[in-house]
Symmetry: C2
Subunit: 406 residues, 2 copies
């Protein structure tokens, strides 16, 4: 069995890197804090005798040899980057649990048939550069390396420069290598498992999503002198779109998702009618058709609402991810492990995007969810219990070893 206490201690050590006053974590991708997290992860891997490879987009791979040199590796992992006001477990759980799998294999002196390879994917969150699953998406060939390198954060720093500045632009190519399977453990980040008192979520797939960048251009003018008829208020226009996104979400019932998470008036002033507003929009739904339909109607509907205020909308679709079913045989290994361990479980579709979604395009993939308090994530108050982490890690161990030894 894996060592629950050691797992928890390492989770808490990682949580100190970028710890926030409110008990969360701010470990933005490719920041100096992310570098500290990466360095710690590398040290831990090397202490186990594993060599860490870094690819051109900063993904980190640590391979443990198998008995059969012809067998393809079984991958496992997740991400160490976080949201600006993130929690301790989103991503970190999957990486540190993967490390615990490696440590347990060493302790138990087990040599698996296939090699096992632990991954820390770069920029899963997408919060800094606007593309979630950036590292895994580049690895999987969904984003070209050149395009990804050119993405910039709010301060104009490119992915390429950020990688250089923390020394994590590796020499290995960022493209898929042959692998036998990929398993990722993650907190659910939603309320379902907790509500139904299940210990494990057997993830059968992830929902579809589409992300946009929006810029509304109006005209800066004086708040005291500009009469209603002469206003081109970009914020009034943006408020219409925020309301529209919420309405489109609610029209789809409890499965709908529609969010403006980032919004900025570049040069705001209390007594200036805002002439420019920039914001993000994203929609998600388990059914591909709903996202396709939204992507067809939303841009024109939004542009019309904005035009009514005398402003202009420039909308850029950043990416679209179709609904992604996971591999039935890998999902089954998770199901079997859960049953063998006597854990309560249910099948579940992931509301969040995960690196597993892009990896699944070239490698048979499954995910394991554990509950989190109040279903809260992307929040500093994100919280799980040590026994929940332990149960998830044990399932991960069993599924990975079963696959590697099949």
């Amino acid at each position: 069995r894996i060592d629950g206490k050691r797992l928890w201690d390492s989770l808490m050590t990682m949580a100190e890197i970028g710890a926030t006053p409110k008990g969360g974590v701010k470990r933005l991708t490719l920041s100096d804090v992310d570098k500290k997290g990466r360095d710690t992860f590398r040290t831990w891997c090397e202490a186990l005798g594993l060599t860490v490879r870094v690819d051109a987009i900063g993904n980190m791979f640590a391979r443990r040899a198998g008995r059969d040199p012809k067998r393809l590796p079984v991958l496992l992992g997740s991400h160490l980057d976080s949201q600006p006001t993130g929690g301790k477990f989103d991503g970190a759980l999957g990486v540190i649990a993967g490390l615990e799998v490696m440590r347990s294999l060493n302790d138990l002196n087990i040599t698996t048939e296939a090699p096992i390879e632990l991954v820390n994917w770069t920029d899963e969150e997408g919060s800094r550069f606007g593309h979630s699953l950036m590292g895994s998406g580049t690895w999987a060939g969904i984003y070209s390396l050149d395009k990804t390198y050119g993405l910039k954060d709010v301060d104009g720093i490119s992915v390429s420069d950020a990688l250089d500045s923390i020394g994590y632009k590796g020499e290995h190519p960022a493209k898929p290598f042959p692998a036998d399977a990929y398993f990722e453990l993650h907190i659910e980040q939603g309320p379902i498992l907790e509500r139904e008192a299940k210990q494990i979520g057997i993830v059968t797939g992830a929902q579809a999503q589409v992300w946009y960048d929006a810029v509304i251009t109006g005209q800066d003018s004086h708040a005291g002198t500009t009469p209603p008829s002469a206003r081109k208020d970009a914020l009034v226009a943006a408020a219409r779109i925020v309301t529209l996104v919420d309405k489109l979400m609610r029209a789809r019932g409890e499965d709908g998702r529609g969010t403006v998470g980032w919004l900025q008036i570049p040069q705001p002033s209390r007594n200036v009618v805002p002439g420019e507003v920039r914001f993000s929009v994203e929609f998600r739904h388990p059914i591909d058709g709903e996202i396709t339909a939204l992507a067809e109607t939303f841009p024109a509907d939004a542009a019309r609402l904005v035009a009514e205020t005398g402003c202009r909308l420039d909308l850029t679709e950043l990416f679209r991810i179709p609904a992604q079913p996971f591999d039935p045989s890998c999902v089954d290994l998770v199901r079997q492990a859960t049953q063998r361990l006597g854990l309560s479980s249910r099948e579940i579709i992931s509301g969040a995007g995960h690196d597993a979604v892009y990896v699944a395009r070239s490698v048979p993939t499954a995910m394991i969810f554990t509950p989190c308090k109040d279903g809260l994530s992307h929040n500093e108050a994100e919280s799980i219990l040590p026994e929940e982490a332990e149960a998830g890690c044990q399932v991960l161990f069993e599924a990975v070893v079963a696959r590697a030894n099949r």
Copy 2:
């Protein structure tokens, strides 16, 4: 007559201090750029043999002696601070035109009966610390010096520290001294004079206004996993208030003003349902009763709309300025000067707040407006013609000298 070319040249020299790429000015109050503007103004005054006094809130006064030591001074001036994306003339016109009045008096070897005193008021714009007319309001005793010193900008820098850091916390008390009159020349910042092709606006008063700070608190959560029913989206709530403010403005017709000019998600991320949004609200109207009525109903109406989204609204009224009529005898001096000079004119109520509004509470006051292109202000494209500046300055000169020699 005043020297129109010299006036324009000095305006252009001042416009270089904090010049922006788009042809505007960013000379935020008490910034290093503001210090440069102040230093230049001081040098210009001293070159005329005037001594510059600075008071505890950084207001600058340059007195030119009169013939009669018992006569109270006639004040004139405006402000050198600007909006973050401001124009070259908002405020600067009144200060530099006042300097041109002083220069012309020197050239013409005129000694007026009463002393004449040129003022550069601190932080008229209110953009940095949230209180427009801050320097004149403190001087007039409307804001206590202690309270003003404690106001902070977005970066947490207090007015007191900002004054110290640029060396403009003067030793003179910031309170009204006896004065005979105050005249302020300003661009209209609105479309009326241009539309009616008038060279001069004879300002009879300024409209009422009320400013608020608002904080909406919801709950950060994951954009992909949080179902509609579990969301507490502070931005969706804020969008309702932005829409309400616009609606309340439009319900009052072309005289209505309602603006959310500043809005911030403190820690925004594309895939996080925003848990906190901060913004400003202001309303203005020529009729006091309209602002009083708004101030009575808006807080509760807004709180109700926000509560419906599961969020909480904390609204703070920052200040309220009643409609301020100007002094009939001073207004009449402006009218007479305009007529004597054969300039086209109309009476007008100021849509913007001006230092003259607070000065008017203790000193007989009038203002002179000149047109600006497309009525645009608080915009880098703000523009006036040299002959418009010259005409306004000539009226200022005549009114001030007439008052000082009466």
